[in-house]
Symmetry: C2
């Protein structure tokens, strides 16, 4: 009968898994980026029910090749340019492996002190690397914590904002008043979702107009919206501003927004999920101007800083406000360390009670690469994106859409004047490029028009991969049905 | 300068990490279960800031021994009996390692079909293993999904309940009415937190009285509470019932609660975070009677089913209701598969947008152990807990508190009549036992009185570990200041 895996069995099978991953990474370039199989293909390869008897490990590993790999979108692929990348790295995977092996649960400081203390210190390191305002450091009243994603970070920022806006009533009595949260029309859908989860309803979110050129939030429109809501007896509570929107990497004017938040007493959360990583490079920190106004800030090392999903780094300027909003203390969690007030209990900084030792992978990444290694990684991606944009610009069939301050380039076929036909052509272009399996890009709409997005991020992406993809796009465009010009 | 870890470097360092974990597991028994170091000890061992240059991997790994391990509470230790255990296993760790190496992001079916399809199938397998009602299978209108924890599962169940109770208004307009959620006085603190996050405030939670003997929710009291709220113009929305409460493993009467929920149109969520794993054994399934009434149900394979944190298995009877409550669809997430309606997009089943391939570790565990291996694991823990309870009962200095249907035993020094003195003595006993580092237990209060909890769960726990711990408890009790008898 199946029994627990012995340490020696673990050693043997563990080596095999490490080898499998090394081989997988080495052969990514030769794999199609996405699967062409229709829905249900993977499920159909699996037995209808669980096995009664245990199976040998070799059979599990073999199924990785036959069942799993053919059904994946390979996010680590050097020609994956979709969404925002979610890139990992060797040191991250090994830090995560250690976390899994240790299997500690860091809900309280006392349930594994190292799990909490390493996280606090590493988030301070990261604040230093990005040159974040001093108020976010744990050495003052602020501090950092790892969330699973920017979605959760936005949610808890909004909860803290409601706690503040409600003057203490929210915790006890919930959403009794018509609280309002503001973001630009380009804010991430996670903001809408967080506002809904927090019980404000979709009506609780005000999407503020943007500058039509830069797609950055228009502070005058924000002021107008706040004033209108106040006049209507509603309760402005928070602004979620974005550095590097998902659609086009627009950068909201944080200093102007921050002034408004200060004037009206609103919580300012800054979501730099993707672009925050860029701030490891001094020459890209202009994007973070005004961050000293923020009550909270987050970015995702799991997007562009070589740390595997899930790792969102979230800071608050006043941790006591956050803890006051979220804490609940039943008897079975009481302990001397908590009562001493000398420790952080990260369960009070997040939605869930339990938490993994996610700081290990981040600690490993920061140490393996060092600051200069991380900067080199960001610069390489920005340079490749610049090169791609130059190729697009030099081709009269295409146009680059807007600025590309980081490593996202928006582009499309040059407009013909027939918007609908252009949208169809661009969608068809994307569909055909992706159908080859040789590259993967995604899309957005800019000014209502279908637009392709290419984001460089994978540590395996070299100039040749970007060049191959550009040739593929050009060749595919050439084969499209001809359009009026 | 530090560069990306090559596949060959990953192989070499990966073997070293696998060896480190195997050695760690082999030596757990010789380690103190907890650290005696005061707050700040681990942080003081770390440099003040991040390194400018990258460091060799060997130095990272060495710090595991010198910086990290001495600051851990070893949750996988054979003499860790606190909280609920969060036990992992070799196959889980290796499945998780593969997930980290693949680095795919399963927010949408289309962003990695295998990530979604394996999860759907494995949750169907698990439903079969626990003999859950057919309505939870994905082959009908229901389905399962992995959440990070039961906290999140409770939260999204409440959100779906509000969507239903609001008759469609909640999504658009939020918490406009005084919705109420019910649980027993013994319900987990995560319920209070979820109710607060959902914008109902602490007043939104009604804690219903329990039977003083069994500590199970009293259905008559539940009916009274619902009726009173209805009479007051409030809006009952959901009941969160528990199979195996955290404090004492009380089992709420699901059939009676289910009848009430049906009568009043309330959403019934059943939280079996810990005890759900027991249902793999037919002889323990009596605990799940009445589950056919539930709209949603969850349990944590990361507690007692050998799957590493985070892995909460959550099912809904009607997935369309859940998706309707949570979905938000921006342009950049639109895709043909979603629009076809032929696929599940798990982003709509959870708080966050992004998600890891967590099903891999669960799939590996189910296959490595097989149904019979998992049943053996549960039975071993229950048998060891029974043995411990028998030793407690046979010692006139102690008493077992309440039933112990699973592997949690509540016990304390036999009462002297002086409650306060008894509480002090029991707290002192626990404190002294834990201070030895030779075992780790936690506490609760039962009927207001300080009570010790011992939970068996680690795959490394053998009878000798329980016996050593019982001797330690007895010896420690003997050395306590004498009490009146």
């Amino acid at each position: 009968m199946a029994t627990h895996m012995t340490p020696d069995e673990f050693r043997r099978h563990g080596y095999a898994v490490v080898d499998w991953i090394a081989d997988y990474w080495s052969t990514l370039d030769q794999r199609p980026v996405t699967s062409a199989d229709p829905p249900g293909t993977v499920a159909a390869r699996l037995p209808a029910g669980p096995p009664e008897q245990g199976e040998p490990f070799d059979r599990l590993l073999a199924d990785l090749d036959t069942v799993i790999a053919p059904g994946l979108t390979h996010w680590q692929h050097p020609r994956f340019f979709g969404y925002f990348p979610a890139n990992t790295s060797g040191p991250s995977v090994l830090g995560d492996l250690l976390s899994a092996g240790l299997g500690v649960q860091g809900m309280l400081w006392s349930t594994s002190p190292a799990c909490t203390e390493v996280e606090t210190v590493v988030l301070d390191w990261l604040a230093e690397l990005l040159d974040l305002p001093a108020r976010f450091r744990s050495t003052g009243p602020g501090g950092g914590v790892i969330q699973d994603s920017a979605s959760s970070a936005i949610l808890i920022a909004i909860l803290a904002a409601l706690h503040r806006a409600g003057g203490g009533r929210w915790r006890g009595h919930g959403v009794e008043r018509a609280y309002r949260v503001y973001t630009s029309t380009q804010g991430h859908s996670a903001i809408e979702k967080a506002v809904r989860i927090a019980g404000l309803g979709d009506a609780g979110l005000r999407t503020v107009a943007v500058d039509p050129e830069t797609l950055a939030l228009d502070p005058a429109a924000l002021r107008t919206a706040i004033e209108a809501d106040l006049a209507a007896g509603l309760v402005p509570a928070a602004v979620v501003a974005t550095i590097g929107t998902t659609s086009t990497n627009a950068i909201d004017p944080i200093p102007a927004i921050g002034e408004l938040c200060r004037e009206y007493g609103l919580w300012l959360h800054v979501d730099a999920a993707y672009a925050g990583s860029a701030a490891v490079c001094p020459e890209l920190r202009w994007s973070h101007a005004g961050l000293e106004y923020a009550d909270s800030y987050c970015f995702d090392p799991h997007k562009w800083l070589l740390t595997g999903f899930d790792c969102d780094a979230f800071w608050v300027a006043d941790r006591a406000e956050l803890v006051a909003a979220l804490t609940v203390l039943p008897e079975y969690l009481r302990n001397a360390a908590t009562e001493s007030g000398a420790v952080l209990d990260y369960r009070d900084w997040q939605v869930s009670l339990g938490r993994r030792f996610r700081a290990l992978k981040l600690w490993f990444v920061l140490r393996w690469y060092g600051a200069e290694g991380l900067r080199a990684h960001i610069r390489e991606a920005v340079a490749l994106a610049d090169r791609f944009a130059a190729w697009v610009r030099a081709d009269e069939r295409f146009e680059v859409v807007g600025a590309h301050p980081f490593a996202l380039v928006c582009f499309r076929l040059r407009p013909t004047g027939d918007d609908d036909a252009d949208d169809v052509a661009n969608a068809e272009l994307l569909s055909r490029v992706n159908a080859t399996g040789r590259a993967y890009l995604t899309h957005t709409r800019v000014g209502g028009r279908y637009t392709l997005r290419l984001v460089v991020g994978s540590p395996y992406t070299r100039e040749e991969h970007v060049a191959q993809t550009w040739r593929l796009i050009g060749d595919t465009a050439a084969a499209l049905p001809s359009r009026p010009s």
